[in-house]
Amino acid sequence: MSALLKVTNLSLEFCTRSGAVRALDSVGFEAREGEILGLVGESGCGKTATAHAILGLLGASARVTSGSAEFLGRDLLRLKPAELDSIRGRDAAIVFQSASAALNPVRSVGAQIADVVARHTPAPASVVREKALDAMRAMRIADPERRSRAFPHELSGGMRQRVGIAIALACTPRLLIADEPTTGLDVTTQAAVMDLIHAMTRERGLGVVLITHDLALASRTCDRIVVMHAGQIVETAPREGFFTGPRHPYSVGLLRSAPANAASLDDLKPIEGVAPDLSRADLPHCRFSERCARRAAVCDAGPLPREAIGPDHIVSCWRPM
């Protein structure tokens, strides 16, 4: 499968009163057509910052200090705002974590889907409306004519999240970034929403970057996994290889601390310590080293390695498991 999005050497800082926060450090990965790529890690590890950097959604305090994000032959990080506007929502779309916060509370959901369609493919109102209904049907929303007139507060959480995805997919983008699309939903609703996203990858060849902290969810839906810790990518692996043979000590720690993976409470092993403060001047090369039981002199010697240890399997560690 060919690369749809190729992020290379992306570094990002936030300027704050207490100095620069080095949020991303040389992040690199690729998202492919017809595939779900899982971006996993604890909160604050830079998953969302990566997504926002790619789509130009960062605030004024953020500064991209290096890197590129190639998408359909162009570097998204170097586009003018107007050029990015024509790509966002049409070729590359994002689903936000909380659909209830992302939707406009005083506009019917049908109108909100139609807005996106009208913005990118101007057409007579009846055509736009029909496309919006199609987008709802694709999300298996029953009775779309009636539901399209509903306001967000009249829908259940799962239904609102489907509307959020319908908005993102209304213009049939090539790439979808889904930022915790099912957090806060029930397991039953979560499974139904993930089924829909999965179906789109098979039916339309959609490439998906799924941001999640839920390893069990990643395990059941993703084709490849990228693990982030404190702004660095520590391991990239195909799903099978990752869940059967993780190599980075942090990946191993994440799996041991996942309730879904434990047979009993004694089996559950929390990761010691917390991620370092990213505004520190003396950040180590390996930002996991201070939490790592395998740390040795070599770990502090220089920048993280990127070692290919198998097909599509890369680990950024001097002393992998």
Partner: protein, 320 residues
């Protein structure tokens, strides 16, 4: 042995237009001393409302609630809040960041309920309680003068638990204790709850839609659907072989590591709880095995085998 908390026939309805919304509809629960019970079900099924009824944070319409054998349903929620019995049932809330007062230090956060409910005779007695509770949940002395924004996620979760544990409760009710927490902190909290139960002998009611947390921590599980308990039994047995079709769908949707999932899916939404049809099963319309009798007589919660009950006319086979 006498149960620590016992509820029978609890009903809570809310006004909804011209009708009544039946949030909790005839629930019986009994929690033994030191037992860990899980309450699971989808959002809107009434599990949080039920937790608030049991914690006496919300008055119920009908039913009976006993704490250690003594009826506590007659005392209004406002009066109960100041009564000595308040200390015996404590509740810890979902998001530690949202439930801690940002202007209270850790010490003050833990000391506040101690002052109100236990009225320690002097500063030394107050400090003894606070220090003991902090130690019990693994908070170091260094964290006591700090404010919530100076604490890590794991420490904030511990403060929430220390507040409750300082009361030396007999029952701790936890509403989604792990869902707002980071992956690495979830494991810490689950292990800590297991330890509190073992060492302090406190009974736990874990309200959660994280079925894995319930599986790891609880002896027994109650499955709730549309305001009613639809299945009960030992957690391991219920997850391994559900008897109610709703439980089966719930368990099948549970994400598992290393399992590519093609499980059963539940379509649609529950029937409206505004004046629900008293003749039909509440699961009708979403149930994969429904038959004619399901629309004409509501199934009772029936005992199947030792320790297991299901509210279904056609319970699933025990060993599937």
């Amino acid at each position: 042995m006498r149960p620590v908390l016992e509820a029978s026939g609890l009903v809570k309805t809310f006004r909804a237009g011209r009708g009544r919304f039946h949030a909790v509809d005839g629930v019986d629960i009994s929690i033994a001393r030191g037992e860990a019970v899980g309450l699971v079900g989808e959002s809107g099924c009434g599990k949080s409302t039920l937790a608030r009824l049991l914690a006496r944070l919300l008055d119920f319409d009908r039913g009976e609630l006993r704490l250690d054998g003594a009826s506590i349903g007659r005392t209004s929620v406002g009066r109960f809040a100041a009564s000595p019995q308040r200390a015996h049932v404590q509740m810890a809330f979902q998001d530690p960041t949202a439930s801690l007062n940002p202007r209270f230090t850790t010490f003050e956060a833990i000391a506040d309920p101690v002052r109100v409910l236990l009225r320690p005779k002097d500063r030394a007695a107050l400090e003894a309680r606070v220090f003991a509770a902090a130690e019990q949940v693994g908070l170091s002395r260094a964290t006591l003068p700090r404010f919530p924004h100076q604490l890590s996620g794991g420490e904030k979760a511990r403060v929430g638990l220390a507040r409750a544990m300082a009361m030396q409760p007999k029952l701790l009710i936890l509403d989604e204790p792990t869902s707002a927490l980071d992956v690495s902190v979830q494991a810490i909290v689950l292990k800590l709850l297991g330890k509190l139960r073992r060492e302090a002998g406190v009974a736990l009611l874990l309200v959660s839609h994280d079925l894995h947390a319930v599986r790891l921590l609880c002896d027994r599980v109650l499955v709730m659907y549309a305001g009613q308990i639809v299945e009960t039994g030992p957690a391991e047995a219920v997850f391994a072989a559900p008897r109610h079709p709703y439980t089966r769908a719930l368990v099948s949707a549970m994400p598992r590591i290393g399992v590519r999932d093609e499980g059963e899916r539940l379509d649609g939404e529950p029937r409206s709880l505004i004046d629900p049809d008293p003749r039909s099963c509440r699961f009708l319309g979403r149930c994969p095995i429904e038959r004619a009798p399901c629309a004409t007589g509501p199934p009772p919660l029936r005992a199947l085998e030792t320790g297991r009950e299901a509210r279904c006319h056609f319970p699933l086979g025990g060993s599937s």
